[in-house]
Each structure stands twice: as structure tokens, then as C-alpha cells.
């Protein structure tokens, strides 16, 4: 626009009363003011999402990883550390002697046997979820692809969020396969996805019946 008065008014260099008087004789400023008022009003009314399903889980997951790495430091008197170090040394010496004295067969047993069993069990449960999800996805895919209602868009957004969560968990597990904390989140994500797909299919079946 060519008139400088609107700029001066917007920058706070011209009082509102003076600008009002100016507007009575300046069509350009009047129009700009009306359009700006409309833009501001409509811009405020642009709707934004109010929830981010799964976002807190992602934040907690990463914050939880930090906490595994950074342990809080406790300020204890030096004497306590000295006593603790002596105890560790004595216990270590005792355990070392016991280990040297035990039969050879026993010492060959894998030490992480329990952890391996638990991991195998968790992986079996995960495989069940993956198989169930695969089946549900096969049924839901045409519904999601064809649907363009707000509800479908919400389902699609939710599934994308869950998929992102699953991918993040899988990336962490590629580095640290036995991380129980991340395994728990991954299972929760699988569960969440199964429930969401089931809800979507139920919704579609109900709509079909109504129609």
C-alpha cells in the first residue's frame, strides 16, 4: 500500500484517534484495516489438534533412556566410600574363590539363561501381536484408503503416530535387544495398534449396518 499512515499507526507512531480521523478520508487505509481485522479474526479461528496420542510415551521413552545413562550422584562422606570399597574387595575375593572351586560343568552354564528365556517369551508375544496386526491391517486397509471423513483422518493420524512409536522402539532395540523398558513400550504400542484397528473395523461394520 502507498499510504504511510497505516504503517505509522501499526508501529505505534500514530495515535488511534488521529488514525481514525485519517481513515475517514483515506479509502486505502480503511480497506487495509478491514482486511487485516478479517485476517486476524480468521487466523485465530484456524483449528489445531488438541491432543497428540502417544507423544508422552515417546517423551518418556527418551527421557527414560537418559536416566539409564545419567545416574544421580550421591554425596557421601569419603569414609563411607572407603568402607564400601573394602567390602566390595572382600566379597569379590570370596566369590572369586568360590568360582575357582566349583566343578567345571557348572561354570559353563550361560549366566543370562533367565534373561534369555524371558526375552524369547517376550519375542513370542510380540510375534503374536505382529501376526494379528497384519491380519487386521489387511482388513482395515481398504477402509482407510477409501474413507475421507474426519473420523477416518483421525484414525489414520493415530495409526501413523503408533507406527512412528513402533519404529522408534525398534531402532532402540536394534542397539539394545534386551532393554526391558523399551520392550514394554513396544508391547504397549502393538496393543494400542491392535485396539485402534479393531475399533476402526467395528466402526466400519456399524456404519455398514446403519446404511
Amino acid at each position: 500500500m502507498n499510504c504511510q499512515a497505516y504503517r505509522e499507526y501499526s508501529m505505534g507512531d500514530m495515535p488511534a484517534i488521529e488514525f481514525d480521523t485519517h481513515c475517514e478520508s483515506c479509502r486505502e487505509c480503511r480497506e487495509a484495516l478491514a482486511l487485516d481485522s478479517l485476517i486476524e479474526d480468521q487466523a485465530r479461528q484456524i483449528q489445531v489438534p488438541t491432543t497428540a496420542p502417544g507423544l508422552w510415551d515417546r517423551i518418556a521413552l527418551e527421557a527414560g533412556q537418559d536416566q539409564k545413562v545419567v545416574r544421580p550422584r550421591f554425596a557421601m562422606p569419603r569414609s563411607v566410600w572407603q568402607v564400601a570399597a573394602s567390602l566390595v574387595f572382600v566379597i569379590g575375593l570370596g566369590l572369586g574363590s568360590l568360582w575357582l572351586m566349583q566343578p567345571e560343568e557348572a561354570s559353563r552354564r550361560p549366566r543370562n539363561l533367565l534373561a534369555s528365556d524371558a526375552l524369547a517369551h517376550v519375542e513370542a508375544v510380540e510375534d503374536e501381536y505382529i501376526a494379528a496386526i497384519g491380519e487386521l491391517e489387511r482388513l482395515a486397509e481398504p477402509i482407510i484408503a477409501a474413507g475421507n471423513t474426519e473420523l477416518h483422518l483421525r484414525y489414520r493420524a493415530r495409526l501413523e503416530t503408533i507406527d512412528a512409536q513402533i519404529r522408534r522402539c525398534q531402532a532402540v532395540l536394534a542397539e539394545d535387544n534386551a532393554n526391558a523398558h523399551v520392550r514394554r513400550y513396544l508391547l504397549a504400542a502393538y496393543q494400542d495398534k491392535t485396539e485402534t484397528l479393531t475399533q476402526l473395523l467395528a466402526q466400519a461394520a456399524a456404519s455398514g449396518r446403519d446404511a
Binding site: 482486511l35 485476517i39 486476524e40 491432543t51 497428540a52 507423544l55 515417546r58 527421557a63 537418559d66 503416530t161
Partner: protein, 177 residues
């Protein structure tokens, strides 16, 4: 509105209590998500930015001092994180119609989608000032503080942003008035 037990929650967060931080996050989630989404235009990027911001906040909670309110401090982190992402972008993002939260039910809604597209195309600093001052209702002084710029610069940026939006939507808007 501040949390009722904010001081206790801050102290717990400073000891690394994630459950306490979750309460703070839940209290602000809706507003922060709105800011991030308005500044970054897509849900994925808004969520990523909010995640980054919340992790920064949780990790720096030990440095938080009560000389400003927790809400102001968190808002500053969220706005700065989004603004950094906005500046790093190589090109403006086009608003994906699938991501528009509003169904296109009438002319007003359609106009808002065009307006949203035009806002997405604004240069980063103009967009940040317009979004925070006009859409999110922060005072110009607060916006200046959050973005680390002068209050006069905020006024000028808002003025230029409105000028660009007027130019982008002139014909449509005229039909509207």
C-alpha cells in the same frame, strides 16, 4: 493457570521424577501443541518439535530458577525450538489438506485453509511473530522476549506479515467483506 502443586512438582522433576514431569506436560500439552502446529504446519513436525522441547525442558529442569514462572520458561523453550526448526527449513511447507484439522464445511472454512496456506508461506521471522502475537495472543513484549528480538522488530514483522497475507488473499478477502 499455574498448577496447584507446581513447586513440589518442580522439585520432584529436579530429582529426575518423570511422573511429576508428566503432570506438568499434561497441564500444558494442548497449548504447546497448538503453538507447535501453528508454527510448523504439520502434525509430524509439531509433535517432533514438542518432543524435543519437552526433553530439553526435562533435562534442564535442574537449572530452572523461580525468577520466572514455570509456564513462561516452558513456553520460551517450546517457541524457541519451533522457531529454530522453522529457520532451518530450506523451503516453506505446503499445508497438506489431509492434515487440516477443520472439515471443509463452508466458505469460511475454505477461506481459512487458504489463509493457513498463506501463513505457511511467510518467511520464518514474520510467521513466528504473526503466529505468537495474533494467533496465540502473546503480547509483543513477550514475543520479543521469547524470540530474542526487539519489541519494535515484532511490531514491524507483524505489520509486514499482515501485508503479505493481504496481498496473497486480496481477491478472496475482498469477496468476503
Amino acid at each position: 493457570m499455574p498448577l496447584a502443586n507446581e513447586t513440589a512438582l518442580i522439585q520432584r522433576c529436579q530429582r529426575g521424577d518423570l511422573a511429576a514431569f508428566e503432570q506438568i506436560y499434561r497441564h500444558h500439552e494442548q497449548r504447546f501443541l497448538a503453538i507447535a502446529w501453528r508454527m510448523l504446519d504439520t502434525r509430524d513436525e509439531a509433535e517432533d518439535a514438542l518432543q524435543d522441547a519437552m526433553l530439553k525442558a526435562f533435562r534442564s529442569m535442574g537449572k530452572f530458577r523461580a525468577d520466572s514462572s514455570l509456564s513462561t520458561w516452558l513456553h520460551r523453550i517450546v517457541c524457541n525450538t519451533c522457531y529454530d526448526r522453522l529457520r532451518r527449513r530450506k523451503a516453506a511447507t505446503l499445508v497438506d489438506l489431509d492434515e487440516v484439522a477443520e472439515p471443509l464445511t463452508d466458505d469460511d472454512a475454505e477461506m481459512r485453509v487458504h489463509l493457513q496456506q498463506a501463513i505457511a508461506g511467510l518467511p520464518p521471522q514474520l510467521k513466528a511473530c504473526f503466529t505468537l502475537h495474533i494467533q496465540e495472543g502473546f503480547k509483543q513484549r513477550e514475543v520479543a522476549d521469547m524470540l530474542g528480538i526487539q519489541e519494535g522488530t515484532v511490531k514491524a514483522n507483524v505489520f509486514h506479515a499482515k501485508g503479505k497475507l493481504r496481498a496473497a488473499l486480496n481477491e478472496r478477502l475482498k469477496g468476503w467483506t
